[in-house]
């Protein structure tokens, strides 16, 4: 039987702005993560991906605030734990987080070994300094990071190397859940590949039991993730396995997102890129009904009226979509649209 490393139920978090407005960036999100699986979260900027990652850590700094919901890591609801216990026993050991642009987080005046000691002193006070450094050396060697990294300053390392160092540091204590927020977005393709290969290796060798991978690069998710959720305006709009969501999206938003993928493959040159018109709704006061309706090319009047909030509908086989139309209705619409586009191109 597979064990679940992370169970999140109805998580709601919000930002409180200077003007006392509430921006609900994570709105009623539930997810489950099984051991040995990678969950990919995709969506455009400002949809709440990074806020979700931050919220999952269980500690909140203003302006981010917790509203309701439970976060169970390894069977324990971390929201009920006192802060000090959460910090020493859970963060870093059970659940670890690699923030966006993590490589800029390294203090340029300290050697990498200082960061290693910093992490290990907090969580493994029983070890001596020599043991700690040996542990780090083993880990670095295993991840193919040269030993000189330990005695180097951050500015002596390249971008890709810094990112890999940060990942090695955050997984130093073999966490059950690793949350990686755009770990490769600031890197070029070659360094990106090395970083991803390293994350994969950590998964394969059980250093990290399960992973949440956040990115907006869908081709990347296809190779990294087992399951994908698509996020829009603070909520999940589609959920399924990686293959299903990328090659056979159901929700109109994911469908539009797939149309904006660019890869160096033969059919790309003739592909019609479709940009989604408009901008996502302001999360300060979200309109009732479907949040995507204003930008959706299939929207009807009832999209905004029928429900106060459209529920996430289960289509069977673990596929979910948050749309008022049924699967067959949507497929019919996509076929019609494709046929129309095809004939337009033909007459041109």
């Amino acid at each position: 039987m597979t064990t679940k490393t992370l169970i999140v139920k109805n998580l709601k978090t919000y930002y409180k702005t200077r003007l006392k407005e509430k921006v609900c960036a994570v709105d009623d999100i539930s997810l489950e993560l099984e051991e040995g699986r990678v969950l990919g979260i995709a969506g455009e900027s400002g949809c709440g991906k990074s806020t979700l990652a931050l919220s999952l850590m269980g500690f909140y700094f203003p302006p981010l605030n917790f509203k309701s919901g439970t976060i169970e890591v390894d069977g324990v609801d971390i929201m009920k734990l006192p802060y000090e216990k959460l910090r020493t026993d859970y963060l870093g050991t059970k659940i670890a987080y690699i923030p966006q642009a993590a490589m800029n987080a390294l203090n340029p005046t300290l050697r990498i070994s200082n960061f290693v000691l910093d992490v290990l002193r907090e969580h493994r006070p029983d070890l001596t300094k020599e043991q700690m450094l040996n542990l780090a050396r083993e880990k670095f060697e295993f991840l193919h990071l040269p030993e000189r990294v330990l005695s180097a300053y951050p500015n002596e390392l390249s971008g890709g190397m810094k990112q890999r160092t940060v990942i090695a540091l955050s997984s130093m204590l073999n966490p059950k859940v690793l949350i990686a927020d755009e770990p490769s977005s600031a890197l070029d393709v070659t360094s990106q590949k090395i970083v991803i290969a390293m994350l994969k290796k950590m998964m394969d060798d059980q250093f990290v039991k399960s992973m949440i991978f956040i990115t907006h690069e869908l081709p990347l998710l296809r190779h990294v993730a087992d399951d994908i959720v698509i996020m829009y305006a603070g909520e999940f709009v589609e959920k399924g396995t990686a293959e299903e969501v990328i090659f056979d999206p159901i929700h109109p938003y994911s469908h539009a997102l797939m149309a904006s993928i660019i890869v160096p493959e033969e059919e790309m040159k003739s592909k019609q890129l479709c940009a989604i018109p408009g901008a996502p709704p302001n999360l300060k006061n979200v309109p009732p009904g479907c949040r995507f309706a204003d930008r959706c090319s299939f929207a009807e009047e009832r999209c905004k009226k029928e429900f106060e909030r459209i529920p996430l509908i289960h289509f069977g086989n673990g596929r979910y979509s948050r749309c008022i139309f049924s699967e067959s209705e949507l497929r019919e619409k996509y076929a019609k649209k494709a046929a129309k586009q095809h004939s337009e191109n033909y007459y041109e």
């Binding site: 900027s45 590949k193 907006h216 993928i261 890869v263 160096p264 790309m268 940009a275």
Partner: protein, 271 residues
């Protein structure tokens, strides 16, 4: 696609080199680069970080001086000695940079930024109404609303909006050549296609020549007619986009192509 651009060479470089530092510490950032940009062509320069792409762009823009080599604009050596010559050159060549957040002067409002473009064109004398109309046109071209924006400061806009404002600037100046240095690397996939569409539109409607600098082969393939692959300062492969991406010859190009995650092919993650 090949019929769109003409045979007339607009910008040409001959054995351009750039060396930073001297003696033991010399770094050759750009080595013997030769290329021609034709009127109306979209060229991509692709390479990993540190391959000298941005240095080359800065040399072309006249922001850095080449160590050796020649740069010809419309067949004549380009002159950048006096302010007047530089000004004339920048009426013809303009750029979009990588980081939309640091391209604008934070103290100038949007209308001032757009107004400065008119000045560069030498259009100070036209009436305020005409100026406003021109600015509105430019904003309309990039799907921004001038009425909502003109009184705002750059930091009040989102990244996508700023990048579009950058393109609105280009639309107003109407240069012959646009150098786009990784214009989409800081924005997400969805706004990226909007930006790419606008670049294509600039070429179709204004006949603009575009030099696109990127590390993303997918983008280069989608957008360009000709691709140059750059590795540590040298151009290692050049040719029509189809040939370079689908049938790469050089080992470095092959490696680059295999490093990009694709949709329909397995991605071999060797360690």
């Amino acid at each position: 696609m090949n019929e769109i651009f003409s045979d007339q060479t607009l910008l040409e470089t001959r054995k351009v080199c750039k060396t930073f530092g001297s003696g033991k510490n010399a770094v050759n950032a750009v080595i013997d680069v030769d290329f021609q940009i034709h009127q109306g062509e979209i060229i991509s320069i692709v390479g990993t970080s540190g391959s000298g792409k941005t240095t080359l762009a800065k040399i072309l823009l006249g922001l850095l001086k080449e160590t050796s080599g020649e740069i010809l604009y419309k067949g004549k050596p380009r002159l950048l000695k006096s302010q007047k010559e530089r000004r004339a050159y920048w009426q013809n060549i303009q750029a979009i940079f990588q980081d939309p957040f640091s391209t604008f002067n934070q103290f100038f409002r949007v209308d001032k930024i757009l107004n400065d473009c008119l000045k560069l064109q030498g259009l100070e004398h036209i009436s305020q109404k005409e100026k406003t109309e021109k600015m509105q046109d430019a904003c309309k071209f990039v799907n921004l609303k001038y009425e909502e924006l003109y009184n705002k400061y750059p930091f009040e806009l989102s990244g996508g909006q700023m990048q579009r404002l950058m393109i609105a600037r280009i639309f107003m100046v109407k240069p012959n050549i646009l150098i786009a240095d990784e214009p989409t690397s800081m924005i997400d996939a969805c706004s990226r296609s909007t930006i790419l569409d606008m670049l294509m539109k600039l070429r179709e409607e204004e006949g603009m020549t575009i030099l696109f600098i990127t590390h993303d082969l997918g983008l280069a393939y989608y957008l360009s007619d000709t691709i140059y692959i750059m590795e540590s300062g040298r151009i290692v492969e050049k040719g029509p986009a189809e040939d370079v991406i689908l049938h790469p010859q050089d080992s470095y190009t092959k490696q680059l192509v295999s490093d990009v995650p694709k949709l329909h092919e397995e991605w071999v993650l060797s360690y």
